[in-house]
C-alpha cells in the first residue's frame, strides 16, 4: 500500500467541520444555547467521521483509487478526535465537571452510557493506529479494528436516543451503515486481506 502525494488532503478535509464550527462559535452564531449546540454539532460530526472512515475501503475499490484506503485511518482518527471534543465540551461547558452531575448522568442516563461505551471502543483503535502497531499486531490488528462496528452501532443508537421524536437523520445514518455492512458481507474476503 503506497501512499500517494495527495493522500495528506484527508487531514485538512476532516478538519473542515471543526474549522466551520469554531468560526460559528467565535462569531457568536451558535444561538442562545451555544454549549448545547456545540455538543450536538460535535456529536453529529463524530458519527459522520465514523461512517466516512467505513466508506473509504469500498470507495477505494469502487472508484479504483487505492490510495483512498489511507483515509480510513485519517477519518477514523478524526472521528476519535471529534468524540473526544464532544465529550470534553459536554463535561466542561455543560456540566462544569461537577462530580454530582457527572455521576448522575453517567449512571442514570442510558444514552450517555451508550455514548461512553462507543467512545471506549474507539480508544484501542486510536492507540494502535500507527503503522508500527499494525505490523507488530499482524492479524490481531485486523480483529481488533473490527471494534469499529460495535462503536458505530452504539453511536447510531446513541444518536437515535437523544432525539425527542423524528427519525429522519437516524434513518440516513442507519441506511448508510446498512449499505456499508452489506457491501462488506458481499466483498468480505477482499476486505480482510490487504
Amino acid at each position: 500500500m503506497k501512499s500517494k502525494h495527495w493522500t495528506w488532503v484527508g487531514w485538512p478535509l476532516g478538519a473542515l467541520p471543526l474549522a466551520w464550527i469554531t468560526m460559528q462559535a467565535a462569531g457568536g452564531q451558535l444561538g442562545p444555547d451555544p454549549a448545547e449546540t456545540l455538543v450536538e454539532l460535535l456529536g453529529w460530526w463524530s458519527l459522520v467521521m465514523l461512517l466516512a472512515c467505513l466508506t473509504m475501503r469500498p470507495a477505494a475499490q469502487l472508484l479504483k483509487v487505492p490510495g483512498l484506503v489511507i483515509w480510513r485511518r485519517t477519518f477514523g482518527l478524526w472521528a476519535f478526535g471529534y468524540v473526544c471534543m464532544h465529550f470534553l465540551a459536554w463535561a466542561t461547558l455543560l456540566l462544569g465537571w461537577d462530580p454530582s452531575f457527572l455521576g448522575e448522568e453517567l449512571t442514570k442516563r442510558p444514552y450517555i452510557i451508550i455514548g461512553m461505551l462507543a467512545w471506549l471502543a474507539l480508544w484501542p483503535l486510536a492507540l494502535t493506529s500507527t503503522r508500527q502497531s499494525r505490523r507488530r499486531l499482524g492479524r490481531k490488528w485486523v480483529k481488533l479494528h473490527r471494534l469499529i462496528f460495535p462503536a458505530v452501532l452504539l453511536g447510531v443508537v446513541h444518536q437515535s436516543w437523544v432525539q425527542k421524536s423524528g427519525y429522519g437523520e437516524t434513518l440516513i445514518f442507519v441506511s448508510v451503515l446498512l449499505i456499508l455492512l452489506l457491501y462488506r458481507i458481499l466483498h468480505g474476503r477482499n476486505m480482510i486481506r490487504k
Binding site: K164, S165, Y167
Partner: protein, 331 residues
C-alpha cells in the same frame, strides 16, 4: 387576579389604562426591539421576516394588541431577547430543529383564521378569530417558559385568559376537559409534509376544565407588544406557564369541550415520557434526562446558566388544583 367582563357602556380600556403602564410597555418594546436587533445581526436574520409579518397582520389584531394592559405581577427576571424567543424554539409542524420554525414558518397564512368550537358548549360554531376575541381586553403577561428539554425562557406574552373566552362560550355541566387542535396543513407546513417527524398530525393538547379556567392560563396572540410571529404559533396559541412547553399548543384551529380526557400528541407518542398533566416538576425526571434544573436562555459557552427548576415552574398558586394527587404517577 380579576377576570374582566366587558360592559359595553364602560369606558374603553385604553381610556382608563394609566399612562405609567403605557410608558412601561413602551420601554419594554424598545428593549425587546433593541435586544432583538443586536442579537439578530450576525446570523439570525429572522428579525426581518418577523417585522414583515407584523406589517401584514390585520389591523383589528394589531390594534387590540397595542391596547393590551399590564396583566400579571411583574417579575424581576431578565426577559429573553426577542431574537431568541422567535429564533430558537420547537414547532414540529415546521421541522424538528430549533431554528427550523424561524426559517420555515413564513409560509403559514394566519389571516383569515377561524377557530371551531365544539363539544359540550352552549355556543358551538366556527368563529372568525376576530369575533372570538371581540370585546376581550388583552393583557401582557410575563411568564417563564420551561421546555421539557431542560431549557427555559422568560417571555412577555400578550393574550386573554382562556377563562374569559370559555365563559362566553358557556361550557355545559358535562364539560370536564378542553381539547385543542393545531392546524395541520401539509401545503403550508413543511414539518407536516415530512414523513420523518414521527408525529401523528394534527398536534393535539388538552387541559382539565379547572386548569383551563385558572386565571394564569392564557390564550396568546402576541409577544413583546407585537402580534405573534408565525414560528411562535400565530395567530392564536395556548400558554400554560406551570406546564412543560409542549402543552402550550400553537396555531389553534379547534377547541372542543369534552367529558373524557382527550388524547394528547406527546402522550400518544411516548406515554412513559410525557403524561397528560406535564406539570413542571423537578422531582420527576424525564426517563432520559434530569428535570431538576434548567438552562435559562440565552446562556454562553462558559456559563450554561443553570437554575434550579421549581415545582409548577414557580407558580405555586396552581398547587391546589392537584391536591391529593400523586404527581409522580400523574406526571
Amino acid at each position: 387576579m380579576i377576570i374582566r367582563h366587558k360592559d359595553p357602556s364602560a369606558p374603553k380600556s385604553h381610556e382608563i389604562t394609566p399612562e405609567s403602564v403605557y410608558l412601561k410597555r413602551r420601554e419594554l418594546m424598545m428593549l425587546g426591539g433593541l435586544a432583538g436587533l443586536f442579537s439578530a445581526m450576525p446570523a439570525w436574520g429572522r428579525e426581518i421576516k418577523a417585522v414583515d409579518e407584523e406589517a401584514s397582520r390585520p389591523l383589528w389584531l394589531k390594534d387590540q394588541v397595542a391596547r393590551a394592559i399590564d396583566g400579571a405581577p411583574d417579575t424581576d427576571e431578565t426577559l429573553t431577547p426577542y431574537a431568541d424567543v422567535t429564533g430558537y424554539n420547537n414547532f414540529y409542524e415546521f421541522g424538528t430543529g430549533k431554528t427550523d420554525p424561524a426559517e420555515n414558518a413564513h409560509t403559514l397564512k394566519t389571516d383569515p383564521w377561524t377557530v371551531t368550537v365544539a363539544g359540550e358548549v352552549e355556543k358551538p360554531g366556527t368563529y372568525a378569530l376576530e369575533d372570538l376575541l371581540k370585546g376581550q381586553q388583552l393583557e401582557e403577561r410575563i411568564y417563564r417558559l420551561r421546555c421539557v428539554e431542560a431549557w427555559s425562557m422568560v417571555i412577555p406574552w400578550v393574550g386573554v385568559p382562556l377563562a374569559s373566552l370559555l365563559i362566553k362560550l358557556q361550557p355545559t355541566s358535562k364539560a370536564r376537559y378542553v381539547a385543542f387542535t393545531s392546524l395541520a396543513d401539509p401545503k403550508q407546513m413543511s414539518g407536516v409534509r415530512s414523513p420523518f417527524t414521527g408525529i401523528d398530525w394534527p398536534y393535539r393538547e388538552g387541559l382539565r376544565l379547572d386548569e383551563a379556567m385558572h386565571p394564569l392560563t392564557l390564550m396568546a396572540v402576541g409577544l413583546y407588544g407585537r402580534t405573534l410571529p408565525n414560528q411562535n404559533g400565530a395567530p392564536f396559541r395556548l400558554v400554560v406557564p406551570w406546564k412543560y412547553g409542549f402543552k402550550s399548543i400553537k396555531s389553534i384551529v379547534r377547541i372542543e369541550l369534552t367529558e373524557t380526557m382527550p388524547e394528547t400528541t406527546w402522550n400518544m407518542l411516548a406515554p412513559d415520557e410525557y403524561g397528560f398533566y406535564a406539570n413542571v416538576n423537578p422531582a420527576v425526571d424525564h426517563p432520559r434526562w434530569s428535570q431538576s434544573r434548567e438552562r435559562r436562555l440565552p446562556n454562553s459557552f462558559f456559563d450554561p446558566n443553570w437554575v434550579p427548576t421549581r415545582p409548577f415552574n414557580g407558580y405555586d398558586e396552581v398547587a391546589s388544583l392537584y391536591k391529593g394527587m400523586d404527581l409522580g404517577k400523574f406526571y
